[in-house]
């Protein structure tokens, strides 16, 4: 048994170099160009060699069996080398071009699609949801599954105007990249924290709890002799930050929790500067297991985007070109008071010119 003195700490991650395919090592920093041979298959040409990447989907919430299976495929086709992408896909790194099709076939036989490159919908960046987080207003893994089932054709093809990045986050903490995605699905609470006055004073620091509220809705108070807090109904916008610091203020409300849909964000600097995602649909009730209203709302937006955008326009770029009025018009989504910002810099979104379309 390891004794205390043997205990290793602060060693940091293993150096990546030991995991690099020899061709990658040789051509490290010396790549000349790449080509996308077909959806999900990239060819990177370096000074002294070529590496083929086959990008396979993953549910991200996976098991050791799944990983072992993938490792096995890597051994069989990729000299044992693979990596994961920033969007949770798996990339097999092949030296041998001839291995591409057999690998794809074996993946397909096991229900794993290949794709996500170029003008495709890639994997959905997402979060824990009901699977592991106490904050969630919805599930994440389930939503991703039904959304990608529905949009499946766009993962394995490259027929979109440009990349389309979807993200899901199960509460306003937005652990997914919801605030900068082409289309984002965000779990929302919509009712006041249910304060447990009997335990709050013990569980939570009152000043921290009061300070946590972005809108100063929380005030200290005393109820039946107990120190606790109260929430100003008119000021609370259900963000859940109080709950993050104080377990006695849960927001979960099966009847009113649900989903909002956001559009037009991006991260890359290509053509236009990075943009935040903007509100499209303020609320859709949770309807598990397959959330049909959510998938059809997203499909509607995707299809109208595909039909109307110019080549290489991201969703936000397309909307900026046609104007938001037209976006609401084309998608049939209702514009409501909720769409008009009312937080800190709300005024900067008011239309301060008369340049408009009619």
């Amino acid at each position: 048994m390891a004794t205390q003195t043997e205990r290793r700490t602060d060693i940091g991650p293993p150096h990546y170099s030991q995991f690099l395919h020899p061709i990658i090592k040789e051509n490290y920093g010396k790549w000349k160009y790449h080509e996308t041979l077909k959806p999900g298959v990239l060819m990177h040409v370096g000074e002294t060699g070529t590496i083929y990447s086959v990008r396979a989907a993953s549910a991200r919430l996976i098991t050791i069996s799944f990983v072992r299976f993938m490792a096995g495929l890597a051994d069989k086709y990729a000299d044992g080398y693979l990596r994961f992408t920033s969007r949770n896909n798996i990339e097999f790194l092949l030296a041998n071009k001839d291995n591409i099709e057999p690998l794809i076939k074996e993946l397909a036989d096991n229900g794993i699609p290949v794709g996500g490159t170029n003008n495709a919908i890639s994997n959905v960046v997402h979060t824990q949801g009901w699977v592991h987080c106490h904050s969630s207003a919805t599930d994440a893994s389930g939503l991703v599954k039904v959304i990608m089932d529905d949009l499946f054709e766009y993962f394995g093809s490259m027929k979109l105007p440009n990349k389309l990045r979807i993200a899901v986050a199960c509460c306003l903490n937005m652990c997914g990249a919801v605030h900068c995605s082409d289309i984002a699905v965000l779990g929302v609470h919509r009712t006041l924290p249910r304060i447990d006055h009997s335990t709050l004073g013990n569980l939570c620091e009152i000043p921290t709890t009061v300070a946590s509220c972005p809108n100063n809705a929380i005030k200290p108070t005393t109820i039946e002799g107990k120190t606790t807090v109260k929430v100003d109904e008119d000021k609370c916008m259900y963000c859940g930050n109080c709950y993050t610091v104080c377990p006695a203020m849960p927001l979960a409300d099966p009847l009113n929790d649900g989903i909002s849909i956001w559009v037009g964000g991006k991260i890359s600097n290509a053509r236009t500067e990075p943009m935040f995602t903007k509100l499209a649909i303020p609320y859709i009730p949770n309807n598990p297991p397959r959330w049909p209203e959510v998938t059809s709302a997203i499909r509607n937006i995707v299809e109208i985007y595909v039909k109307n955008a110019k080549p290489y326009e991201r969703v936000g770029e397309w909307i900026n070109r046609i104007g938001w009025a037209k976006f609401f018009d084309l998608t049939g989504i209702e514009f409501t008071k909720y769409h008009i910002d009312d937080f800190r810099h709300a005024g900067t979104t008011y239309k301060r010119s008369v340049q408009n379309r009619y």
Binding site: A57, I62, V67, A74, V144, C239, A252
Partner: protein, 394 residues
Amino acid sequence: MSDDLKIPLLDELEKGPWPSFVKDLKTLAPKKPMVRDLLRQLEKSYQDKRGYWKHGGLVGVLGYGGGVIGRYSALPDEFPGVSHFHTIRVHQPSGWFYTSEALNELMDIWDAHGSGLLNMHGSTGDLVFLGTVTDELEPTFRDLTARDWDLGGSGSDLRTPSCCVGPARCENACYDTLELVDNLAHRFQDELHRPMFNYKFKIKAAGCPNDCVAAIARSDFGIIGIWKDNIQVDQAAVAEYVDSGFNVKEFVVDNCPTGCMSLEGKELKIDDSNCVKCMHCINLMSKALSVGKERGAALVMGAKAPIVEGALLGSVIIPFMEIEEPFEEMHDLLERIFEFWDEYGKARERIGECIERIGLASFLEQIELEPLPQMVTQPRDNPYIFYEEYYEEE
């Protein structure tokens, strides 16, 4: 055992062409009671439309303040398998590169000590081991470190830095994202494992302005590759694009945000003094165009999700910096930033919020950087100037 796993709602998620986590988890359920109860509790969540997790508690491994997220079921009697269901964040290698051997070793460790469920990867970048009990934390840690793996960050510490594939497989990389991130992770081990900041601090390194790791949106400190000189043009290759029927004018030239390109016959002209390094043309003509030779990175700070003061994108604090080993300039800068934050920040205030509160100009002054017009979209438009120099009566 497994025949009493009645999860009709979740079963619906086995349908359809996208990989099904339910199908995957079900294969493990017979062997792992934790997985079985996870599915059962999740089924209940699907029925009731709400989560059943308690607010996380403080658990961890000896001497570390971060790397483990405590998690307990709110219904431990109904679902004893998940009464404890903690998360261990394992620090991924730069660029998420693995060998099958390394993965199999990791899986063996996780099989031995936990549920066998995981995320590859978490949103911050960690290899996330989902679901174990408090007693298994230390043994898991021991086995991990024995195989050269360490934990990632959580809580108010330096979070696990991550980077794009960079020079390992991308012709656009303007600096060595993988080495930088590995270096920073090792240099700041203490900050990573022992939360002593005001709040979390995330580092992300992208090799070029395409920002494939979302540095500008999801990191308090983002390093985004860029070049200073001219785009490298291979005119012969340009001509090939033209000949191939690819519409260089419409797709490339007309989409340049500054209009600094023109196509004359089959020749592409670029007024690089007006190029804002957006990458669009290079992206579309990988064979003909490449990033310049004078490479480095722009540093952006302060990105974050909405809580508390609203979401922020990173903002430029250094428009261009050379990124070369041993990365001392970067270490120094980070130390000055941590010092600043320590002095000026408030608890649970992200550094981006702190900079907004203090003001970018004061922040720059504190961390000893020069103000430059590249740091703003425009100079101030309000006349509320805090003049600091004035004349005194002689």
